[in-house]
Amino acid sequence: MKLKRNYYWPQKQCFFNKTNASKWMLMLLLIFPLVVITQGCIDQKKGIKSTVDFSGNRIQLIVNFGAGGSTDRFARTLAPYLSKYLPGRPTVVVVNKTGAGGVLGASYVYNFAKPDGLTLCVCNGTTMRWGPTLDFPFDVRRYGIVGSTQFNWALVVNGKFAVNDLHELADVDQKLFMSANSPVAPNPLRTRLIMSQMGDVQFKTIGGFSSATKALASVRQGETTLTALHSDYYLASKEELIESQEAIALVQFGFVDTAAKIRRSRNFNLPTFREVWGSLPESARDTPAYKLSLAYDYAAVASTLFALPPDTPENIQESWAKALMAAFNDVDFLEDRKIQKTDETIFTNRAETVAVIEEIRRRFDDPEVVAALKKFAPALRK
């Protein structure tokens, strides 16, 4: 096939020999940026006016983990309820910005999103990483924090061990391997901390399992001994695990309140890590390892932050805080979560979350905790 010659300008004409069409185009090119810039200015003004109204706007919930995962499912379930309770009933969409264990998405909202209330980070795990890491790329306290929620975790052990609790597992005369994404990830580290106080246990965390599925598969096969599973995932797989007898859950991390008290989930009756710590000799609770474990417990209260970009105006933050509170209390939202067979849905309000974050900083800066981190997770303190 040959192209017709009229696809091109006649030979002598070029860019600067303008025809009417190109003049129009040039004018459009000049006008278009002006229109967009003006629109941008108007939008920005909208953001800082005293009455918050998101009508006609498109709100982005930035989820810092991948689509289909527990955080993502949670955010997608929440999105329509946020839309319902935000002033002006805007459209709320979920956008996944993944990478670097959730830091990339959190960092995007921190550094690049405009403080106009149109972008909210559903930042899972951010406080858990910010607290212990020496050179975290930003200060979580500067976000426009509007609340937080937390997820529970279960410690799942290979079925062949036929043990009833963590003490029995520790007594097994065999090296124990925990499959995890990284040995310095919060939950493997919390497990290692408690194991370090259970006598002469041979325990090693094997990192490199890129997903919970792979970590669990390794436990089911008997390749590794145990892994920590998000309780939503655990509850979804519970029947299958029980039936196959390939893996059993022994302990849960539990739900923490703002006074750092931990309680069991209503959905599965397993002892919490704190209870296991309580069953250890008194001396075990007078160690840097225990203090570090407590700091992690505290970080878990606000493990999933609802964060607006820094410098977001107060009135916008307030509107978001109210909308979140209302969404979390909506019976339909709770029913939706129930249908999905997920674990409990906990909400910590704005003021309490801000206080918790300050407390997290204080606890992780404790010299004893720092010493424990240097010992158990040197990679975090480099």
Binding site: L104, G207, A236
Partner: protein
């Protein structure tokens, strides 16, 4: 068995109820688009379309999602074959043979072979599905870290056959690929390696921007410098009967199809085994087992059939553990499992008993969707292949825009685009100096699989896994056999190892000895820097990168010594004639033209950095075309089309906006 057959029939019939079928068609249409779009593919599609599926009954939601998912690897071969843009990892192997075929006017045959390979792949594995259900759990449990590691080694041994005529260069580049895969957090200790302080690099180098830059940029630059259309048989009629020939190719290579369907299906069933690795394995297998005349690297249809069949068979394969055990076969299936939970379904036993018809409906969806797309694409083929005949000055800005959007799908930041641009420069230099690019990608793909599983294996099993696990023994045996076979045939002079397209022309036409030497020196320097940087790290953190850097240093040193010792008069020998016609202009003019188009790409990056995708890409398209004297009758609709694509489709519908424009950040 009767129950299973009954469920299979019920599943098939439920697919043809009006609502389900309609949603499947919508899903297919979305999947076709996502497949064609560089950087998208099934995984991104699942994430983007999941919200649209919520709120529908399960049979409708899954028909929609799986209709989309099933066809993305079918249509991703369209840009790979027609415009040389391997936009998804699955399309990279197809591109190697498909694009040269398009260049010689056989696009229709290549595409047809690709569609029908996908149909056969899914169909064969869907039939095997029935027999695998009872043994799914033992199969999955047979694969632990040692098996994954052995599988990766087997993959590397096959990749060894793709290193090209200049083995030392191939080895250097393959090691470089493996080394680059060590960038980011290491699972063994949680330490970051070679991230240079960038959060972006903590997850390692992203595959899609690297592959797009490495393969598509040099091709496009070369194409623009030559100023012709993609199909070099310029003016020749579109091949007649190409679709039929493509179909016949799949039938004539039925045993290859069967083997690759089994390979793909199995790697789909075993979580973590599938993905790009399988497609490269299938490609390597096709090349290694090729009998008769071989044109690998220059457009051999077997190099399309193998990866396409394996890639397609993975899909019903990955579905199986997801529905049967609640163990997602791959990342896309993890999202599908999310959909299960959202609609209140429980993967597992229930799906193989009460919900078995729904399970079968899912499998049928994958098969039927592939068939529908094959038919639709064949009907559209006549028009599609004409893309190859459009002058490059019209096509180039559109391709560049698509590539940039595709590259930025990874994280949506400008860092993706920078990686793409850097990979483009490296790819161009490699082409110009005759270094092969395929081993780099294979190294990048296999690197994490090799290192992670080696570390896990050595920590848990010590060395006992080498002799106590039958699958490991078989896979390592196959790897040794493959290496021996290649070596022996190499010694006998029957080695069919060829460089991939792009490299050959460079070797004969514009290889620059000095450039090649400098590239070798740069790799040697990089190796030394890598070793010194890694010295303070923990043993487990530095083991792989230091080892690889050491090999890289030795290989690059040998390469450079050989280069110095080779008399300058004798060019690097190759066995085949170049497939790319000599450029019409002199070498000097071509180089100048190529440099000019690099400046254009730089201008594009600057425009996007300042104005973002939505404004920057249409503006660039218009300016590029206008400067190249394209009439506004074409440039205006093209710019408008790009705007509609970036703003309405990508941003408004799919929520992908790309990097933030500097102008708007400053406002």
């Amino acid at each position: 068995m009767n129950d299973i057959l009954h469920a299979a029939i019920v599943g098939l019939s439920s697919l043809f109820t009006l609502e389900v079928f309609l949603f499947m068609l919508i899903g297919i249409a979305a999947g076709m688009f996502l497949g064609i779009m560089p950087g998208m593919g099934g995984l991104t599609g699942m994430g983007l379309l999941l919200p649209f599926a919520i709120g529908h009954p399960p049979e409708v939601a899954f028909a929609f999602l799986l209709g989309m998912y099933a066809v993305t690897t079918q249509t991703d071969s369209i840009p790979a074959v027609l415009i040389g843009v391997p936009g998804t990892s699955a399309a990279q192997a197809t591109y190697l043979e498909g694009y040269p075929m398009a260049k010689r006017g056989e696009a229709s045959r290549a595409l047809s072979a690709s569609y029908f390979s996908s149909v056969w792949g899914t169909l064969i594995f869907a039939l095997l599905f029935l027999f695998i259900i009872p043994v799914i759990r033992p199969i999955i449990n047979m694969f632990g870290a040692p098996e994954f590691f052995a599988f990766a080694i087997f993959g590397l041994s096959l990749a060894g056959t793709l290193v090209g005529d200049n083995v030392i260069r191939g080895l250097t580049i393959a090691t470089l690929g493996l080394f680059l895969a060590t960038i980011g957090f290491t699972g063994a200790t949680g330490e970051a390696r070679y991230t240079l302080g960038f959060i972006y690099l903590e997850d390692g180098l992203p595959l899609i921007p690297v592959a797009l830059g490495l393969f598509a940029v040099p091709e496009l630059i070369n194409l623009m410098a030559r100023g012709s259309s993609i199909a070099q048989a310029d003016g020749a009629a579109v091949e007649k009967g190409g679709a039929w020939r493509g179909f016949k190719d799949t039938v004539n290579n039925r045993w290859l199809v069967l083997r690759c369907a089994c390979l793909g299906g199995l790697s789909g069933v075993v979580p973590g085994l599938g993905g790009t690795v399988t497609e490269w394995l299938a490609y390597g297998h096709a090349k290694n087992s090729a009998k008769g005349e071989s044109h690998f690297g220059h457009g051999d249809v077997r190099g399309i059939i193998a990866p396409e069949t394996a890639g397609a068979a993975q899909k019903p394969g990955a579905l199986l553990p997801t529905v049967a055990l609640g163990i997602p076969g791959n990342a896309s299936m993890a999202i599908l499992m999310g959909a299960f939970l959202i609609v209140g379904l429980q993967p597992g036993k229930e799906m193989l008993n009460e919900q078995l018809p729904l399970t079968f409906q899912m499998v049928w969806t994958v098969v039927v969707a592939n068939f529908v797309v094959a038919v639709v694409c064949l009907l559209m083929q006549r028009w599609l292949v004409k893309i190859c005949y459009i002058p490059v000055v019209i096509l180039a800005p559109i391709i560049l825009s698509l590539m940039l959007v595709g590259a930025a799908v990874n994280t949506g930041t400008f860092a993706d685009i920078l990686v793409f641009a850097l990979a483009g420069i490296v790819g161009y230099l490699m082409v110009r100096s005759g270094w092969p690019r395929v081993p780099l990608i294979i190294g990048l793909v296999l690197g994490p699989l090799v290192e992670t599983n080696f570390v896990i294996t050595s920590q848990i099993y010590g060395y006992s896994w080498l002799w106590s696990r039958p699958i490991v023994i078989v896979l390592l045996g196959l790897a040794v056999f493959t290496i021996l076979k290649s070596t022996i045939s190499g010694v006998r002079g029957k080695n069919n190892n060829h460089l991939e397209i792009g490299d050959r022309k460079s070797v004969n036409i514009m290889a620059l000895r000095s450039l090649s030497w400098w590239l070798g020196a740069a790799i040697a320097l990089l190796s030394l820097m890598a070793i010194f940087t890694a010295m303070p790290w923990e043993y487990e953190t530095r083991l792989f990168p230091v080892g690889l850097a050491g090999f890289m240093f030795v290989f690059s040193l040998i390469h450079n010594i050989v280069e110095l010792l080779t008399p300058p008069e004798s060019p690097i020998k190759t066995k085949e004639t170049p497939v790319v016609l000599d450029p019409p202009n002199s070498l000097e003019n071509t180089r100048r033209a190529e440099l000019r188009y690099f400046v254009w790409i730089g201008f594009l990056l600057m425009t996007v950095y300042l104005l973002g995708f939505i404004m920057g890409l249409p503006l660039f398209t218009y300016i590029f075309m206008t400067v190249h004297r394209i009439t506004p009758k074409i440039s205006l609709p093209a710019a408008l089309g790009i705007w509609v694509f970036t703003y309405l489709l990508m941003f408004r519908v799919l929520g992908i906006s790309g990097p933030d424009a500097l102008v708007f950040r400053l406002l």
